[in-house]
């Protein structure tokens, strides 16, 4: 985190730079079937983040050395398009996108019923075409909607959301400025039906009390986001 404590990000009324209250989410819209050639797909707009996820498979896993005799493997790639950031992002993998791909895969492998498809592969391509802050959360959430759209059996969908701290106030769903100048960031991957977790990261500085507050903000937000995810899969208006 940047941790520039002197930048005032919360006004005297407790409102944030974009006018939200501490627990308010940015605007979210979800649409499925946006990649017609894929088996399942999802576009998720979250603030000015936009992720497009395509799911292909289950299909033959090759090269054969990646095959597992008793289950399917997930091939997850998180990538930022070159025009998704203020300064152009050079195409290709970097350490950050490799790490996010890995933790996203770890989260999704915890919910997909992999043992139903031995020796096969399910490919999940997460493309960030517009980045603000919290793209890993958008990517993971959109990926679970795309998996559901592809009809892949899962124990639950993963809802990912981050809370953090700016000017010593615990807030939910950090935007770009809050992410840059904030003091902490706590992204989580939550199973909304059980309240269990499959993804957890954190960086910054939180007291035990602040940590508990941020945790609870994420838990509450996950329920609200889950409703929109279900709505989009029913073909309804997710706005």
């Amino acid at each position: 985190m940047g941790g520039y404590g002197d930048v005032q990000m919360i006004d005297e009324n407790g409102l944030r730079v974009d006018g939200r209250g501490p627990s308010d989410l940015r605007e979210i819209s979800i649409e499925t079937g946006v990649v017609p050639v894929a088996d399942g797909s999802c576009r998720m707009k979250w603030g000015t983040n936009e992720a497009i996820v395509a799911v292909y498979g289950p299909m033959e896993a090759h090269p054969r050395k990646i095959q597992r005799q008793d289950r399917a493997v997930l091939d997850v790639a998180y990538n930022m398009a070159p025009f998704s950031t203020t300064d152009r992002m050079r195409p290709g993998f970097n350490r950050r996108s490799r790490e996010i791909s890995k933790v996203t895969k770890d989260a999704l492998e915890s919910v997909v019923l992999l043992e139903l498809y031995p020796r096969s592969k399910i490919r999940i391509s997460i493309e960030i075409v517009s980045a603000e802050a919290g793209t890993r959360c958008v990517g993971l959430t959109a990926a679970s909607v795309a998996l559901a759209d592809a009809g892949i059996p899962m124990t639950d969908m993963v809802v990912s959301v981050a809370s953090g701290k700016v000017n010593d106030v615990v807030i939910c769903d950090l935007n770009k400025e809050e992410d840059n100048y904030g003091e902490a960031d706590l992204p989580m991957g939550i199973l909304p039906n059980s309240g269990e977790l499959v993804f957890l990261q954190m960086d910054g500085d939180l007291s035990q009390e602040e940590f508990n507050q941020a945790w609870q903000l994420n838990m509450d937000a996950a329920q609200a986001i889950h409703e929109k995810m279900v709505e989009s899969l029913k073909g309804g208006d997710s706005q």
Binding site: V35, V37, A38, T48, A81, P82, F83, R88, P91, V129
Partner: protein
Amino acid sequence: MTIPLVPKLLRAHLRELAINESRIDGRQRWEGRELDVESGVLPRAEGSARVRMGDTIVFAGAKFQIMQPYSDRPNQGGLMCSAEVRPVAGRHWEAGPPSPESIELGRVVDRGIRESGCIDVDSLCIIPGEKAWQVILDLFAISDDGNLFDAFALAGIVALRNAIVPAERFDIGEDYPLELSKTPIMCSYHKVGGRFVYDACGREELGGDERIHITLGDDDHVHSLQKGLKGIFSPNEFTEIMGHAQDRTKELRKIVDSL
């Protein structure tokens, strides 16, 4: 890109359709798919477009960087055009370094835009020999159901037409729109079942042979040509294609102008 198996049945079917003057998706020989063009769709890009042709969907995003002019052209800025087709766009596209197919895509679109002279590269110079704008046009496929070439070229020119040079961010004065003097448009033709068709879909590409790409400028001037894949074509076939391209590029230019 993995090489897909082309079932003999598909090729035979396409040949039969060609004899009966029809196509696998019911279109006429020279008929394009339903087209949807949106501009200014990417908030982080200085210019952007999204093009949908049937089930083919692409984005184009224009970004600007400061570059040092090349020593043999100290008064000129630069244009770079790159195409990326990642695994998101179809099951036969694989991760890894750019494939020859996606490099060809980027280069053919690049030539059409560059050689038309629609961007005045001299106007991109800020300080001769020291500082100039480099325009980077990134073409990005979301869904590949054939003819990425035309989709990329169309998205590319629309993205450039609504691009704003971000001078303020680089402390070089006020933002201003990038000026384009021409609108080069590409039309692509694939040989399917023994005859050329316009705007091939994925299955036609899969079961077809060679392809020809033509980029025409405002006055029907030819700015780039490319023949791709294995196959032989006659001068008469080319004349027929060129005739259609002249009409079709005018229609498409009208759509671009109306945005």
